[in-house]
């Protein structure tokens, strides 16, 4: 049996929800960033699935290629910032950053 569009979208949605839950509950800075990667990849699965099944066509694959590159660039910057935070606080627990009362 060939998987249909909604099967792919289901996988994408599960990844998205896992990522959002991960972002909301993890206190470790790196853990939060992993949640972001899950969300981005959930969207990527959607793009590729839509490009196979709908009028979006190759545009969808171009979208996902750009997103892969961007996710790598963003992760590099985010990890550098996490390292900077670690150097100043000796922890990457986001809750320990409590100097600013936001």
């Amino acid at each position: 049996m060939q998987p249909s569009l909604s099967n792919y979208l289901l996988v994408g949605a599960v990844l998205f929800v896992c990522g959002v839950i991960c972002m909301a509950t993890k206190r470790n800075g790196i853990g939060v960033l992993m949640g972001v990667e899950l969300v981005l990849n959930g969207a990527n699965i959607n793009f590729v699935a839509f490009s196979k099944f709908t009028a979006l066509g190759l545009d969808g694959q171009v979208f996902s290629l750009f997103v892969i590159v961007l996710a790598a660039a963003e992760a590099a910057v985010a990890l550098a910032i996490a390292l900077n935070f670690y150097n100043n606080h000796l922890t990457i627990d986001v809750d320990r950053g409590n100097k600013l009362k936001g």
């Binding site: 959002v20 959607n46 979006l56 961007l70």
Partner: protein, 533 residues
């Protein structure tokens, strides 16, 4: 066949694209030049800020050339439909590159990036500005995402640029975590919108929505519901960039942890780019009678968000003692005022009288653009004073401003003019900007009763905001400077920088030629973006 394709691509790119993209290309070239200058130790001979200034000046020059070449209602897509060239995108290009020059001048005066770090800092500044220009000329959902990320990623780093400071690294970690999360959510929304509608082209969204929903576009249709969910998720990302309630929580923290120069840049430029993008996205979704009811509801919802944002920003600013934090909340409130214009535009453009109201629709976008232009000078002026005083007192608390008038009249008077304009008092520029926005909200109120509430909230909040701004004025002019407080002996060049910004705010209010000229350009930019559909 293949060579024909390549030839067409080359013809399109060299004929139009490179010319329309020249400002961004000059900025990119400047980044490379600044980094190469350091590699060959040329930055000891030529200051990096000078190279940056030349690059930004060329970007202004080339955008101005585009401004003269384009006709009022012309709207051209280029780079394969990814970007759109019209008066609206040129307005933002000139606005952002002018702002870049002013920001570089400020950093030279305050000396925040030292000589070692200057190429890094200015590269980030330029990269973020290119991202914001892309946001304002986006014509595709892919560019929407790329532009937001290109503007955000350098901003995360700039917030954490004060090395070895706990608050700075904390601010940038919070900003990157929330920002990356919001961008991820926005991307998921884009995937739903683009997938269900079968296109990434923003100007085609409404037409495709009409086809997909087959006649009456109601929320009962599952595909329309999916698109509505996608649009909501996209709005999460945009609301984060605009610091609208409830996605504003990063803003005070990031501003307090960042240096005042970076906070000033973020509060003006990234708001401006995001508003350009929001206007394009909203116009892409509207203008088709079948979706009018849905889009009117969307506009009213934006109006409700604007009310909450303005009220929250003004109330929360009231208790702040740190000036950067206070101005962060003031920034949130001003984003709310500007959102009112977008909300009014959406309500008008999706009514059945849209054709008769076309002038008012242009006027609402024009009001937003005029507000942004005045906001550039008044908010940058305020942050410049904070940064300059900080260099003498090493303090950013409101108490460090006590008796500033006796120390440096230039800074105190410049700050006072900026604050009066932020409140919206005549005869300063901020008054006319607010007036234009409130006038278009009033027009929209004739079409939907809720806009009367938006108008009332805007008016009331203008009065509320008086109270916390007046605290700064009181500290500067009426209170005695404590004997142990450090002296603020500002050189003439620093004082005159602030006074020039303040003079622009004043002139935009009293010089009818300047105000009318700018607002008529803003109105035709508004008409260009509407007609580009």
């Amino acid at each position: 066949m293949f060579s024909e394709l390549i030839n067409n691509l080359i013809k399109e790119t060299t004929g139009n694209g490179l010319n329309f993209f020249s400002a961004e290309l000059w900025l990119s070239g400047t980044i490379v030049a600044m980094l190469l200058f350091r590699l060959f130790s040329l930055d000891r001979l030529v200051p990096t800020a000078f190279v940056g200034m030349i690059g930004a000046g060329l970007a202004v020059w080339y955008s101005f050339g585009q401004f003269q070449a384009i006709e009022a209602d012309q709207s051209i897509v280029f780079f394969g439909g990814m970007l759109r060239q019209d008066l609206f995108s040129i307005y933002f290009r000139i606005f952002l590159s002018l702002f870049l020059i002013l920001t570089i001048a400020l950093t030279v005066l305050t000396g925040i990036p030292d000589n070692e770090d200057a190429p890094d800092f200015y590269s980030l500044l330029f990269g973020a500005t290119i991202g914001m220009m892309l946001m304002a000329s986006a014509n595709n959902l892919l560019i929407l995402f790329l532009g937001v990320e290109m503007a955000s990623v350098p901003s995360y780093v700039m917030v954490g640029f004060l090395k070895g400071r706990k608050s700075s690294s904390e601010a940038s970690l919070k900003y990157v975590v929330y920002g990356a999360g919001a961008a991820g959510v926005m991307l998921y929304g884009i995937s739903l919108v683009a997938g269900v509608l079968g296109t990434g082209d923003m100007s085609l969204l409404a037409d495709h929505l009409k086809v997909v929903s087959s006649g009456a576009a109601g929320l009962a249709d599952p595909e329309v519901r999916t698109v509505a969910l996608g649009v909501m998720l996209v709005m999460v990302g945009l609301a984060f960039k605009l610091s609208l309630v409830p996605f504003h929580f990063w803003c005070p923290d990031a501003f307090e942890g960042a240096s005042a120069e970076v906070a000033g840049f973020l509060s003006v430029a990234s708001k401006a780019g995001a508003f350009g993008l929001l206007v394009r996205f909203c116009i892409g979704l509207s203008g088709v009678p079948e979706t009018a009811a849905l889009m009117t509801a969307f506009g009213v919802a934006l109006g409700a968000v604007a009310i909450v944002t303005v009220t929250f920003g003004n109330l929360a600013a009231y208790t702040q003692t740190n000036l950067k934090r206070l101005f962060a909340y003031s920034t949130i409130a001003h984003a709310g005022y500007m959102l009112m214009a977008v909300s009014a535009m959406l309500v008008m453009i999706n009514s059945d009288q849209a054709a008769a109201l076309s002038k008012e629709i242009n006027y609402s976008i024009g009001g937003l653009l005029y507000y942004l232009a005045v906001y550039l000078f008044m908010n940058l002026g305020a942050f410049a004073v904070i940064a300059l005083v900080r260099n003498y007192t090493f303090d950013e608390d409101i108490s460090s401003f006590k008796g500033l008038m006796t120390q440096s009249p230039a800074l105190a008077i410049g700050m006072a003019i900026c604050i009066f304009s932020l409140i919206g008092m005549p005869p300063f520029g901020g008054f006319f900007a607010k007036l234009m926005i409130f006038a278009s909200v009033y027009k929209a109120a004739g079409l939907h009763w809720f806009m009367y509430i938006v108008l009332a909230a805007g008016g009331l909040n203008t009065v509320f905001s008086l109270f916390y701004y007046v605290r700064i004025l009181k500290a500067m002019f009426l209170e005695e400077r404590p004997a142990e407080a450090r002296k603020v002996s500002v050189p003439a060049v620093e004082g005159s920088y602030v006074l020039v910004l303040a003079a622009m705010v004043f002139l935009m209010g009293v010089l009818p030629g300047l105000a009318n000229g700018l607002s008529s350009i803003a109105n035709s930019a508004g008409s260009a973006v509407v007609s580009g559909k």
